[in-house]
Symmetry: C2
Subunit: 213 residues, 2 copies
């Protein structure tokens, strides 16, 4: 369950702490302490602190992209030649990350919170998001453009912005919705979040990007 090599334990601890407190809110000594290693070991394996941060952020990115892209290809094949519906595309974008059991791999939960931290920050977002995620996002927007042939690019991108915002806040797992709803919703429950987000977002895309009646 827990990583065995000290190098991986450093990555895991850094992932959890960076996600909770941000890059500057965490010290190498905290990371090393939580990983049960000496502070100099982080330097030996990763060099500077910023390089450790990059290593954490890049570690799971490829896997995440593959899993999403595979889900997209699957609905594209199953729906050929008409092409998948908006709902199917959104679902392919969200579901691969479901972590179905609520106690699933905490590493991934921390990683998603870290994505939220980066994506919501001008400073970090500019440095780290585009390189790793732009290609995949454009794949999904292309698919949406096909499903919504009358949509302008501008409308499509603004709709994607709304989707990205809702997803980012879900990734952040802030428990704010838990407080607001007095416990009726739990931000740790990704499945419930996606169950509501998919029809919500799909309806939004249709309303903005399909010809009015």
């Amino acid at each position: 369950m827990t990583a065995t090599s000290k190098r991986d334990r450093i990555l895991d601890s850094a992932e959890a702490l960076f996600a909770e407190r941000g890059y500057d809110g965490v010290t190498l000594r905290q990371i090393a302490s939580q990983a049960g290693v000496d502070v100099a070991l982080a330097n030996y394996h990763f060099g500077k602190k910023i390089a450790l941060f990059n290593a954490v952020f890049e570690r799971r990115a490829a896997l995440l992209n593959e899993s999403r892209l595979e889900a997209l290809r699957r609905v594209q094949e199953s729906a050929a030649p008409a092409g998948p519906t908006v709902e199917q595309i959104i679902e392919a974008f969200l579901r691969p990350l479901e972590l179905t059991q609520e106690n699933a791999d905490p590493g991934w939960r921390h990683y998603l919170a870290l994505i939220a931290y980066v994506n919501n920050s001008t400073y970090w977002g500019k440095r780290m998001m585009s390189k790793l995620f732009d290609d995949l996002v454009h794949e999904f927007i292309d698919a949406l453009r096909q499903a919504l042939p009358q949509a302008s690019d501008r409308d499509l991108y603004w709709c994607y912005h709304n989707l990205s915002g809702a997803l980012t806040l879900t990734f952040a797992q802030t428990e704010r919705i838990d407080t607001l709803s007095n416990g009726q919703c739990r931000s740790s429950d990704f499945q419930a979040a996606y169950d509501h987000m998919i029809p919500f977002v799909a309806a939004g895309f249709r309303r903005v990007c399909e010809p009015g009646e």
Copy 2:
């Protein structure tokens, strides 16, 4: 235009820097330097660093809440007794913050980015969001409940979560959508963001919270 008292200049600089780099990413010396004052002055006026952060966050909260609540009351009165539509309620939630000219008061732009930072963080969100914003949010959810009488509370809150996420990412002004859309959308253009967000979100609420056909 620029604040005249040194106390206010400290608040303005802190607001801008905290919004860009987060609480731990900014030093009191940077804040003092940007404000053109000695570092000890921040301590004289606000005490500890965390108290300065709180002062920045609370400074504009009441005004923001009043402006939103007033907008809600206005549509409630103009639409009585039937009650306002979902679109009208969402509009009242968003528009007060439009900052219509794109170069409008940079202080408010920084403040909105700071809200995004706090709302997207578990650590800061738990400490700062509920106390200042829960009452207002519940006012809006009550209004939405009336406009969507068949909705369950759970559905309403999950929909609000989606709205809040889209709005939070807009507040963050990360310029990510600028990059993705190759300049066709600009995240500094709040008016365009809201023009697309209002129908998008309203359609989402209706789809999730109104009886299916």
